[in-house]
Amino acid sequence: MSTVTKNADLAVLDSAVAAMIVPPSPRRASGRPPRRPVSGHRVKRRAASVVFSVIAVIIFLCSVFPVYWMINTSLQPNNEIRGPIPNFFPKDFTLGNYSTVLFEPSRSPFLPALANSLAVTLLTVVIALVFAFLASLAVTRFRFKGRKAFILSILIIQMIPAEAMIVSTYRVLDSWSLLNTIGGLTLVYVATVLPFTIWTLRGFVNGVPIELEEAAMIDGLSRTGAFWKITFPLLAPGLVATGVFGFIQAWNEFVLALVVMSRPASQTLPVWLRTFQQANTTTDWAAIMAGSTLMAIPVVVFFLIVQGRMTSGLMSGAVKG
């Protein structure tokens, strides 16, 4: 066992070192199999890639089916949603639910809630990423007293069930006159996603061998320079993954938003969505689905933007070819 691991381990180090020594080759088109001389391999690889593509389509369908059902529902009148025979396509296609959600005057309006949600979420993502990034550097690239305590606290914080802290969190914001403010809710959300973001980014920074930076420093770069030029680009995928996480958390959070933003003008989208659930009239499920669909769009847009950035610019100059 030990010899095997040792060999494999050496292989890892070898290739890591090789990666450092060999100058970066032009980035090959991602996912395409590397050129190999043996043709048998190519055939096998092609077959494999067909199989993988099929699996990819299956995964896509499984993930997307409930989403499809949400959109499908949002395009039907409320009475067509549930019946003895399900409608796999909108039988009586209508955009009426969207107009209900967006324009009906007796409903609390969509646009101000959208503006609030966007402001809170974007601020949360930016602030949390910056603060978490700095903190994760501190705990991975430095050794200092209290470091272990910090990491441990970050972990413990995430274990606290949020349901138990609602009242006291409200008190804190109230004492600082931060109720019903974008700043107040942002602060709470930053605090909720920070531990996760630090914890995860720490994993990503740890994943970048310090030797890469050192090699660059031998080439004459400063420590900071080495970090920005070598390590930071490699963290881009991690930043994107945690950023998307933060975005979705802040975007969909309900209970704290309900309690902290108690005035209608400061409502966020998840709270707005619940106003469609009624006690003494029929709940307009189709409108809820239309609202949910509208809510999902900004998340997808955000993801497409950051994903584009992730694959295009940032990584091309990296060590990794």
Partner: protein, 424 residues
Amino acid sequence: MRKLSLVALGAATMLALAGCASGGSAASGSSTPEAGSIRVWLNGTDTPQAARDYLKTTFEKQNPGSTLTVEEQSWTGLVDKLTTSLSGSDSPDVVEVGNTQAAAFTSAGAFEDLTSKLQELGGSDLLPGFVAAGTYDGKFYAAPYYSGARLVFYKKDLLAASGLSVPTTLDQYVSNGVTLAAANPGVSGIYFPGQDWYNALPYIWENGGEIATDDNGTWKAGFESAGAIAGLKQVQQVMEKASVAPKDGNETDPQVPFCAGTVAQVSAPSWVKGSILAAADAKAPGCPDQTANLGVYALPGKNGGAAQVFAGGSNIAIAAKSAHPDLAYSALKIMLGTDYQTILGKTGLVPALKSLSSTLGTDDVAKATAEAAANAKLTPASPKWADVEAAGILQDFFVKIGQGGDVTALATDVDSKINAILNG
């Protein structure tokens, strides 16, 4: 039941007298309150727009220089939101709260004491069960706002096909349901999803049982009593023999199976008629082709007449932390006034004032509503009752009954759970 409502009535009367006695001192503040702006929290879309507009204009006319804003709250998460907001610095002034949720706040000191105003707000004309719900420790905190009633909707053709007529007793209602289900496979003679405990209560009450009674400060749950057991057996009979509804389903959207043709009779809140008959171009269309076929009656009691059914509804109160309690009271008075309550009555909500029940109208639903409301009954007036509901104990209990569990054993078990909470 009689005992409980008598206690409630007694409390209400005593409070009314107390209100008379101390009326003078309370009136001093209401003459010329300082101008300001107040916020009124109403839940969902239950209060019609006309009532909201009336409230705002009347209030601002009566209190020149002051403004009133109605802020609509969602029922989801309402208790959480009230707990935080009412205890914080940004408290609303007037809040609506579900009648079974009221006790949680009256007992905590979240609301302004209205004992001295009871008479002025309507006194003995107010729905007594709701006055009891808003009363804690001899003090009156939350006024009745409106009530709802549960009615039985049925398909006339199905009843006729089985040669049945509208039942006059509860037992007949149950046997009709069983007959209908047997005659129409796949159809519920009485649609009864397992979590729908509100609709199970009349069976208990009509057979002489009680959910819980107050015995000198100690609550005693009553599902084990002989009467309650008889009622529970009837519930089980309905769920097993008359209903094909999901044994663990909830009571929302009964119009869906009704319109799908799998329901012959269903006991549901009065507004469900609107959902069933909603026009094809409505946002939530029902099955308007059933208009002529849809019948309605008040659930009959064990010995004829209307059964004691559960009354849902709301209470309305002034926040203890309101910055303008006088203005808030002025708004509350408008909301319990004849004009405002008439608007509620005309939309099918049972008004908070008994004298206005005629505003419900004269159609069959209105008649049945008035009949049912007259004999409506509430859950035990313990501040901890809301906790029993929050824990979902009764939902679990009736799901297990629906599954065919042993009624006596289940009743013993649920009683010990309820006792633990109410006396905990």
